[in-house]
């Protein structure tokens, strides 16, 4: 694992579209039996869908403005933006430049886009922590979001019943406190084509993705715990990428994790890609215990990433709703 010190997550905020659609409304011609069976496995009865003019950056910007306000944080103190998304506003220019301008940040703010998905939050944290190794960089704004529903094939039940839209923001800062943070980021030997964008539409082979998760993720987590000489009793929270209820239950069972430490927030949101881990925190902000936390992402790539982070000094805000007339 790669260790960083003297860095902390100052605050986390998330934002979701106001449009909440239940599966019955999305799939008017599907049988109730199929919809019920699907919801039972995925844990999803309804999802958030962004309006046609709303982008991932809109959701992230809204959550960042909320974070600045609630933390009373001077946005001029931001030195770099890292924007993680698979549904960036443009291929060219980088969306982070657009975000910098819309947020009114200084023009010497260093801007990066990272085209990452289910491991995006952890990889975004890693990039932010890496930037903070430079003494001149004190605060990084990490934004993670997707509006994947715009890239779903209308005929594809498997993806349309699972994916939702959302955005998040974090401020990551240098600190005098030790706050050791550990990362382990890997990709699998299997071909990445079981989860990919083909002709502007998302394709997912759920069977192969699950097999990849069951083969690699529990093993990597066990290796990390061994490296740290810790077990899940030492952690206040275990937050998995919110892919679907079935996978999270499988991982909880395989790793003997107490489910009260491992929240699922799929219903009413869906799988929101790189925003799913911060959304799990902000949806359960009242339940998340401040302290030692294990984060785990897995999916597109096929990649998997773990992070051990201390959230003792982190302000976790309640999820906010994006008003489409905004």
């Amino acid at each position: 694992m790669i260790e960083f010190n003297n860095i902390k997550i100052l605050g986390i905020s998330s934002c979701v579209p106001e449009n909440l659609m239940d599966l019955k409304s999305i799939f008017k011609n599907e049988s109730e039996t199929r919809l019920k069976k699907t919801s039972k496995v995925t844990g999803i009865e309804s999802i958030r869908i962004a309006g046609s003019d709303t982008t991932a950056s809109d959701l992230c910007i809204k959550s960042a403005e909320h974070l600045f306000e609630k933390l009373n944080f001077d946005k001029n103190e931001i030195d770099s933006i890292v924007f993680v998304s698979q549904t960036r506003d443009y291929v060219m220019p980088q969306t982070s430049f657009v975000i910098r301008k819309k947020l009114g940040l200084n023009n010497d703010t260093i801007c990066f886009d990272l085209p990452l998905g289910c491991t995006g939050f952890i990889q975004g944290l890693f990039q932010s922590y890496s930037l903070l190794q430079n003494k001149k960089i004190k605060n990084v704004l990490l934004l993670c979001g997707d509006t994947m529903t715009k890239y779903l094939n209308k005929e594809d039940f498997a993806t349309r019943s699972v994916f939702g839209d959302g955005g998040s923001s974090c401020i990551i800062s240098s600190t005098e406190n030790k706050f050791a943070t550990f990362f382990d980021i890997k990709s699998a030997e299997e071909k990445p084509d079981s989860l990919m964008m083909k002709s502007d539409k998302l394709f997912m082979d759920g069977f192969e993705v699950f097999k990849f998760v069951s083969k690699y993720v529990p093993r990597s987590i066990k290796e990390n715990l061994k490296y740290l000489n810790q077990n899940f009793d030492d952690f206040e929270n275990v937050i998995f990428h919110q892919a679907n209820d079935f996978i999270i239950k499988f991982l909880n069972k395989a790793l003997k994790i107490d489910e009260t430490k491992s929240p699922t927030v799929l219903n009413g949101l869906g799988n929101t890609g790189p925003a799913s881990i911060p959304l799990a925190l902000t949806e359960k902000f009242f339940k998340v215990k401040k302290g030692h936390t294990f984060l785990c992402g897995f999916g597109v790539g096929l990649s998997y990433a773990n992070c051990v982070v201390n959230l003792s000094d982190t302000e976790i805000l309640k999820t906010i709703i994006y008003n489409e007339k905004h």
């Binding site: 496995v41 069977f207 699950f210 069951s214 079935f246």
Partner: protein
């Protein structure tokens, strides 16, 4: 795990209702059930299964035979 327990777990996974014959009653394994089956075989027997192997399961006893063969 005893065969009776395996049959019970499989019948719940595949939502088999009433009296069914493990050698005769045809089973349908859709994409969601196949995930459950992968998880069941991995968690309980540390057995990995492919899509092609699942397609060969026509009755419950095919799954039991598959487990026996893999367990050696």
């Amino acid at each position: 795990m005893k065969n009776t327990e395996i049959i019970k777990e499989i019948s719940e996974l595949l939502e088999l209702e009433g009296n069914f014959d493990i050698n005769e009653t045809p089973i349908e394994i859709d994409s969601l059930s196949s995930l459950g089956l992968v998880s069941f075989l991995d968690t309980n027997f540390n057995i990995s299964v492919t899509k092609e192997e699942i397609e060969e399961f026509k009755v419950v006893n095919d799954i039991i035979k598959f487990i026996d063969a893999r367990k050696g």
